[in-house]
């Protein structure tokens, strides 16, 4: 990762906040830090308590006015959405701790862990890659159904993620099973439109197809099983809404396939 970005964030945070870069996504650089932004610092003598610092560096490739608007908009909307989503019972998202919209920084709860045998950080993507030796195990099935359930819950509450991929789901080991958390809501939005939900599902399906091609069919089936569960629990209204979303999902998918390649 570019040293320049690290020094940028270090100079902005001052040397009192030690940061360790852990990943460079497309939009943001993710650091861990042991410093809580406003709790008294002596409370955290335990070095194992970590926080995530997500920093959206200025993107030099794009026009400054686009860049400023996007950074502010996405940081703000991600913070707002996280705050709202954390109030939905049963939905797992990281807790928001602090945000600095103009500098493109948010502090959130640290989630996930290193997977065994050097399989990397516990994103759903790495987890599925780790499981390729036994791709159809009960454990994988349970995990994916749970992920689907989380997405269903998100949609049922009229929120959309905007960038559902297997990189944007983090798994937390709870001893007996893996608990999925949805992360990275930079493109998220509150939306009652079936179109947005259909596109969300389509984006996810394509991400699964392209990243986990060989097992994609079964994986998608499990994801949708969990997704449907949420709606089916709700009475008639849930069934109807589910039907609308699935119908639109199918339409979006056909649009993708059938779209004319003509100029």
């Amino acid at each position: 990762m570019s040293q320049e970005i690290i020094s940028q964030v270090s100079s902005y945070l001052t040397s009192n906040v030690p940061v360790i870069p852990i990943s460079q996504g497309a939009e943001a650089v993710v650091f861990t830090t042991t410093i809580h932004p406003y709790a008294p610092s002596n409370n955290n003598t335990d070095e194992s308590i970590k926080y995530i610092l997500k920093y959206r560096p200025p993107k030099k490739y794009r026009h400054p006015s686009i860049d400023k608007a996007l950074t502010k908009h996405r940081t703000l909307s991600e913070s707002r959405i996280l705050a709202k989503l954390s109030q939905i019972s049963g939905l797992h998202v990281p807790k928001l701790i602090a945000c600095d919209v103009y500098n493109g920084c948010i502090w959130i709860e640290f989630l996930g862990e290193e997977l065994p045998n050097g399989s990397g950080f516990s994103s759903l993507k790495n987890y599925l890659w780790m499981c390729v030796l036994d791709p159809y195990s009960k454990m994988v099935e349970d995990t994916l159904v749970k992920v689907g359930y989380q997405i269903g819950l998100l949609h049922w509450n009229d929120y959309c993620h905007g960038d559902l991929t297997t990189s944007n789901v983090v798994l937390q080991n709870s001893g007996t099973h893996w608990e999925p958390y949805l992360i990275d809501f930079g493109l998220g939005s509150a939306s009652t439109l079936v179109e947005d939900k259909g596109v969300d599902l389509y984006v996810l399906e394509r991400a699964v197809n392209s990243t986990h091609s060989r097992y994609a069919e079964k994986y998608s089936q499990w994801l949708m099983q969990g997704y449907k569960e949420v709606y089916e629990k709700q009475s008639k209204k849930g069934q109807n809404k589910l039907r609308d979303v699935l119908k639109r999902f199918e339409e979006v998918r056909l649009r993708g396939r059938k779209r004319s390649m003509l100029g």
Binding site: I66, A69, R206
Partner: protein
Amino acid sequence: MVNLNKVLPRNGRDYYLALGLEGSANKLGVGIIKHPLLPKHADSDLSHHCELEILANIRDTYVTPPGEGFLPRDTARHHRNWAVRLVRKALQEAGIDHPSELDTICFTKGPGMGAPLHSVVVMARTLSLLWDVPLVGVNHCVGHIEMGREITKAENPVVLYVSGGNTQVIAYSENRYRIFGETLDIAIGNCLDRFARTLKIPNEPSPGYNIEQLALKCTNKDYLVELPYTVKGMDLSMSGILGYVDSLSKDLFNHNTKNKLLFDPKTGEQLVTVSDLCYSLQENLFAMLVEITERAMAHVNSNQVLIVGGVGCNVRLQEMMASMCRDRSNGQVHATDERFCIDNGVMIAQAGLLQYRMGNAVQDLADTVVTQKFRTDEVYVAWRE
């Protein structure tokens, strides 16, 4: 390991010769290439390192008057008028006296416009029967990718494919070029072409090029006309942007002083020029393209980008992509110039010859039917590991 020498060159030669015919849109391209037969290709993963030699690369573009797009029927007529002459010229340039020396004739099977594709395949079939040379049907997008890989030597890049008919972010995995992101409605080139039509700027040499030149003339680059920014994950949508910028340009032409974005509400003074609109449109669309490319790179842990397709010649897009790559560790951007970026016959020959060397030539003319819809991920990429 892949054996690219499964099928040996004709007549015991130590090199392959392929003719490539492209006519899926308004360009008719004929290319002739040569691959040396090398032992290293028998047991390696070097499909981006064929030591390609280009013997001929000829193109003729069907150009329509300003304000008009190219229609399938007229484009097909253009291709029929020129195809045979272009092949003759290419053979002369390549110094091939006996065309039956060719190992294979490669044609574009799709995607593209039906009538132009068909006009070329009719000639391809006839040549194949006359010279007794086997045919290979090539996916146009795969042609772009293989051409780009061979020219730039990018081994396993994330590919941004941007042209008049396509906008896709592609990465290779398990013998397929998989689509990670794409447009949900119109293609980038189509968006630019149609905006050029609204502005009535010439289609010569290409509408996108003329927009690029106009954008350079923008005098106040600090100011940007705000346009919708519609990235959805790794996908994007452009029809809304086109509709909006079209309506702006109409207000500009009709001198609709009620539009406060374009005219000063008090004095009625014009604030924005056509160049400003071109500049803002490019900045906005390209930022979206670079963003989805970067998302795909992060998702597949890649640090190389290859830009292919007609819009890939745009210098501003290349600059922006390079700037994005500088901020990623070991980021590299690869692009080609207009000889290879814009549709051409060589790219069809390159992808087709790889396919041929793997033993996948057409056995039955019934398999040479062209198709308007042919997704990049439908092709089995036998020549890569």
